[in-house]
């Protein structure tokens, strides 16, 4: 087995040990999903205008967010990697015959996958059974569904590439708090975690279009509901690939620079 697959496997095993955390997360996510939808229901019933997304599309969007939260949330932090850097255990990582960027990305990827596997099935089962208007809808077509899966996975890679930048910044800052806060605030809004991007004012939408964040949340979830038609989705997938290449390339460069002048903390 390759080192990367193997670390994913071990991370997976590691993640599966935290059953209670999964159950707690599950109820939190159901709760938040319901609250968000209630707000949107009130919002939709209070306006006469036709909005750019239908209520059922928004409901589906919210549930997808909650189901795949662990895949897409940027503020999730992996304390292990921070600890490696600030505590000096990175010395061991550097004695291994692997490329650090790929190795750490594999760790991050695995942690997110392990979390989501534990949580997504039970939430999915519940949200398809809820009464209207809270019920989640099926994807618009098989094509949409397959494109959704592809774009979700690519979105996950974008998320990992952005969070790698946060981890690498710790080489200079020695504390992840600042980087995380900045990314959390920016990404929450700009990725469409708070409100879907079509519901934003136009000037804000323009900003989101030039940043990578919307490709992690807004894009895959609207592909699912067919709000972004398949032909457009294919273009989007190309743009996702572009962002992955740019972010990973930049991250690798930063990491190389960091390692050249790395100081192993703590003797």
């Amino acid at each position: 087995m390759s080192a990367y697959l193997s670390v994913i496997r071990l991370r997976f095993i590691n993640g599966l040990q935290y059953r209670t955390a999964a159950i707690a997360g599950l109820s939190t996510q159901l709760f938040f999903g319901l609250i968000f939808i209630m707000v949107f229901v009130a919002f939709y019933s209070g306006t006469a205008k036709t909005l750019p997304m239908s209520l059922s599309e928004v409901v589906t969007y919210v549930w997808l967010q909650q189901i795949f939260l662990s895949l897409i949330m940027l503020w999730a932090r992996d304390n292990e990697i921070f600890g490696l850097i600030t505590g000096g255990n990175i010395a061991y990582e550097l004695c291994r015959p692997v490329q650090l960027y790929g190795f750490w990305s594999a760790k991050l990827l695995a942690q997110r996958l392990a979390n989501v596997v534990l949580r997504c099935l039970p939430i999915t089962a519940v949200v398809f059974l809820l009464p209207q208007p809270y019920r989640m809808s099926l994807p618009q077509s098989w094509t949409s569904f397959i494109l959704f899966l592809i774009s979700l996975l690519l979105g996950l890679l974008v998320v990992v590439a952005i969070s790698m930048l946060i981890y690498i910044s710790v080489f200079w800052t020695m504390s992840p708090t600042g980087s995380i806060m900045m990314i959390a605030v920016a990404s929450e809004l700009l990725a469409g975690m708070i409100i879907p991007i079509p519901l934003m004012p136009e000037w804000l939408q323009k900003i989101t279009f030039i940043l990578p964040f919307r490709w992690t949340v807004d894009f895959p979830f609207r592909v699912y509901s067919g709000h972004i038609p398949p032909a457009e989705a294919l273009w989007g997938i190309l743009i996702q690939l572009f962002w992955i290449a740019v972010l990973a390339g930049f991250g690798m460069w930063c990491l190389r620079t960091a390692l050249r002048k790395v100081v192993i903390q703590g003797g």
Partner: protein, 325 residues
């Protein structure tokens, strides 16, 4: 096999005095001091040697180990280990070495030890058969059978250290760097670890470089000592040489039948005296043991005699003092 030439490394350290005022001042003006961790270190180590690398805290031992294991890039100097440059050919080089940092852990905290080993197997791409025979050997000699399926967090320090050492040897490295492998271990675990290091050196021809503060480690293992202080290499030689340089001092403890008057012997120093027991110290080169005993037995009725050489710890302290480190 291992060659270091003129290796130097300095660190920039931020510092300030204590207190609120100083802390506030440091917001605007930072004082930096450059600390020379290593300056012009050169040595050669041959295949199959066990070398003890000693020196007081902060002398640069760990920094040297980190440079040699490709973790740190030195400012100046050349280093060639098995033909590799550790920091330039890092990925290719580290396949051939094993490293244990005694104060750190390479095992995954929440999962059983064996899972970490399997990850290492995949990272180092160890062939199945080799992995199995290495693992069996390590389980056997380090007595890991009962602990290998336990999560790391439930292991004691000694158990964990044995697992850490095993983890560094799964890929049959040719060179093993041990940075304080016996730190915090009880006597039994220390002996087990030493025994094991000796075994792999003899049976597999692994070259071992170990840093330690425990001179018994050195006594039990190393035929050669490198001593470093304030970033410079101060001593390179064998333990016997060191002993003969400083170790001519002997102490003699005698028990005798009750004797009222203290007895003094020319050429020795009386360290303590009670009517039944006395301790003298003398220099072996100036007066011989037999002479001392003979002179003593003329004056008292000896019941028991024991002679001790100067403990290695004291020799090292003397050496540190001599170099003012």
């Amino acid at each position: 096999m291992i060659q270091l030439e003129g290796i130097s490394k300095s660190f920039k350290v931020a510092e300030r005095s204590a207190g609120f005022k100083q802390a506030a001042k440091a917001l605007f003006v930072r004082k930096h001091r450059t600390v020379e961790a290593l300056s012009d270190i050169s040595f050669t180590i041959n295949e199959g040697e066990i070398v003890g690398y000693i020196g007081p805290n902060g002398a640069g031992k760990s920094t040297t180990i980190k440079v040699m294991s490709g973790v740190l890039v030195p400012d100046r100097g050349k280093c060639s280990i098995m033909g590799y440059n550790p920091w330039k050919d890092r990925a290719a080089y580290v396949k051939n070495i094993g490293v244990v940092f005694g104060q750190r852990s390479q095992l995954w905290w929440d999962v059983p030890v064996i899972d970490s080993y399997e990850l290492l197997r995949d990272i180092y791409k160890i062939p199945r058969a080799e992995y199995k025979s290495n693992l069996d050997m390590l389980i056997d000699t380090l007595d890991l059978q009962s602990i290998i399926h336990m999560p790391v967090r439930q292991l004691s320090l000694g158990q964990r250290m044995r697992c850490e050492i095993a983890a560094s040897l799964l890929h049959s490295p040719k060179v093993l760097f041990l940075d304080e492998p016996t730190i915090g271990l009880d006597a039994v675990s220390k002996i087990a670890v030493r025994q094991f290091i000796k075994t792999i050196n003899e049976q597999k021809g692994v070259t071992v470089i170990l840093t330690t503060h425990d001179m018994h480690d050195i006594e039990a293992l190393a035929n050669r000592i490198l001593m470093i202080g304030k970033g410079t290499l101060l001593y390179d030689g064998s333990l016997q040489e060191l002993r003969s340089r400083f170790g001519t001092q002997r102490t003699i403890t005698i028990d005798f039948e009750r004797h009222g008057q203290p007895v003094y012997i020319a050429g020795t120093e009386q360290l303590s005296w009670t009517p039944e027991r006395a301790v003298y110290s003398f220099d072996n080169e100036q007066i011989q043991v037999a002479q001392v005993i003979a002179k003593l037995s003329e004056q008292v009725n000896l019941l028991d005699v024991s002679i001790d050489t100067k403990p290695i710890d004291e020799i090292i302290v003397q050496l540190y003092k001599e170099h003012q480190i």
